[in-house]
């Protein structure tokens, strides 16, 4: 199933459309915006893009190890399940805005959800 998801959703063009919407939502979400203070926007957008590519079932270089290391400093600052939930909400809202069918949104949410323990360092 997930093998075709990326193509069904529209490949890289779909990811590019989603990055701006998703990143804007994340930056304006008071629950999580503080974790993005001072980050370089271009580097961050590139990370968002690889995250969305991963969630869309596309080609990625995502490893659990990198996820742990990349978020370890945020876990120290108090990153927890509630923040992960907030990101998941923003992801779903982004996809709804792009009129992605609910069954595909569910598929992508499941892929994104699989990173939870790595992100939270558990």
């Amino acid at each position: 199933m997930s093998q075709n998801l990326y193509e069904r959703i529209g490949g890289e063009a779909a990811v590019n459309a989603a990055v701006d919407i998703f990143y804007r939502k994340v930056l304006t979400d008071d629950r999580i915006s503080r974790f993005f203070d001072g980050v370089d926007m271009e580097k961050q957008a590139a990370k968002q893009k690889s995250f969305l590519t991963f969630a869309f079932g596309g080609p990625h270089h995502y490893t659990g190890q990198a996820m742990r290391q990349g978020h370890a400093h945020l876990v120290k600052q108090g990153l927890n399940d509630s923040h992960f939930d907030a990101v998941m909400e923003n992801l779903a809202a982004t996809l709804q805005e792009l009129n992605v069918p609910p069954n595909l949104i569910a598929e992508m949410a499941a892929i994104a959800e699989s990173t939870r323990d790595d992100v939270l360092g558990r």
Partner: protein, 330 residues
């Protein structure tokens, strides 16, 4: 942990460490300057392995194809073999100073002979070599209309190159440069798009070029230029910009003074804040941000949140430094 093969030796990088940081940590000297993926001093070439997409950002297409990348921005996911740039790919260009004049107390305009066959866009930058130092300067000239290269050089306290340029350099002196680099320039993909140009200090140089380039190419959308400085003496080209606004109905110029004491001639406040207050909705706009690195960074976020798409935001943060930059031995 990725391994880097360089000059017949192998170095192990830490996870998420850049090639530049890793080599430096191992005591290997690599030419570098801004360490922020901008100045292109740390340009290197991948012999084996793939440079990351982000490490190739802003590099000329022809060099990207030859697997050039920026060592400071490259965090490899796999092993790589790398080398310094090939001199044949990056020829040093000889030119000479043809004129210099003060634009205000600290900033002077330098005109250089346009080297034969030098192709560039207004707003791109060049690296200027002087002895073993190098500095990046934006191109304020427009190739279609100006038969010289124009730089606006701010005098930096104890600045090696700016000091030499301001105090010693005279018409006829030879200069060595390479470039052009960067993607902070106008492109004619939508001539009806509204452009917002925000700059501080000598960040006006690329914007002065970009605005005139857009007008020369028949841009029809509005072009709003906000130039900021702490006090009025830091502004420059005020008369020229006002004349440009009189000649072109779609060009608008707003000089801003942030340090208080603004008279009726200038707006009072920071250029980016004044611009955002006047234009809070930037969906569909193209944005150019140049000058003070902190301003550029915070304005980038603000214009994005105001609706500008990431691909429509062009930024050129200026890093000023007084200490030596190590230039690649030519």
């Amino acid at each position: 942990m990725p391994r880097i093969r360089y000059q017949q030796r192998t170095y192990v990088l830490k996870d998420d460490e850049s090639v530049l940081d890793g080599l430096t940590r191992h005591g290997v000297a690599v030419p570098s300057s801004c360490r922020g993926g901008v100045c292109q001093t740390c340009l290197m070439r991948a012999v084996h392995g793939d440079p990351s997409e982000i490490s190739q950002r802003g590099i000329k297409e022809s060099l990207r194809e030859r697997r050039y990348f920026l060592a400071c921005a490259c965090r490899p996911g796999a092993d790589m073999e790398i080398a310094l740039p090939d001199d044949n790919d990056l020829p040093l260009i000889m030119t000479e100073v043809i004129g210099k004049e003060p634009l205000n107390q600290n900033i002077s305009r330098f005109r250089l002979r346009a080297p034969h066959g030098f192709v560039y866009r207004a707003g791109q930058f060049i690296n200027l070599h002087h002895h073993e130092h190098l500095r990046s300067y934006s191109l304020a000239s427009v190739p279609q209309t100006d038969n010289y290269l124009e730089l606006h050089v701010q005098r930096i306290t104890a600045g090696r190159i700016s000091g030499w340029l301001h105090d010693k350099c005279k018409a006829g002196d030879p200069l060595i440069l390479h470039g052009p680099f960067g993607d902070c320039h106008y492109s004619k993909r939508d001539i009806d798009q509204t452009l917002l140009l925000i700059g501080t200090g000598s960040g006006l140089a690329p914007l002065w070029g970009i605005a005139r380039d857009a007008l020369a190419q028949g841009h029809r959308g509005a072009i709003h230029l906000f130039h900021g400085s702490r006090d009025a003496t830091g502004l420059y080209l005020i008369g020229a910009l006002r004349r440009l606004a009189q000649r072109h109905r779609n060009f608008h110029y707003t000089p801003c003074v942030s340090g208080g004491g603004a008279s009726g001639n200038y707006r009072s406040g920071r250029a980016d804040e004044i611009a955002l207050k006047q234009f809070p909705h930037l969906q569909g706009w193209r944005i150019f941000l140049c000058g003070n690195a902190e301003m550029v960074k915070s304005a980038k976020k603000k214009v994005f949140l105001a609706g500008a798409a990431l691909r429509d935001i062009h930024a050129d943060p200026f890093e000023f430094s007084a200490d030596a930059h190590i230039a690649a031995t030519p």
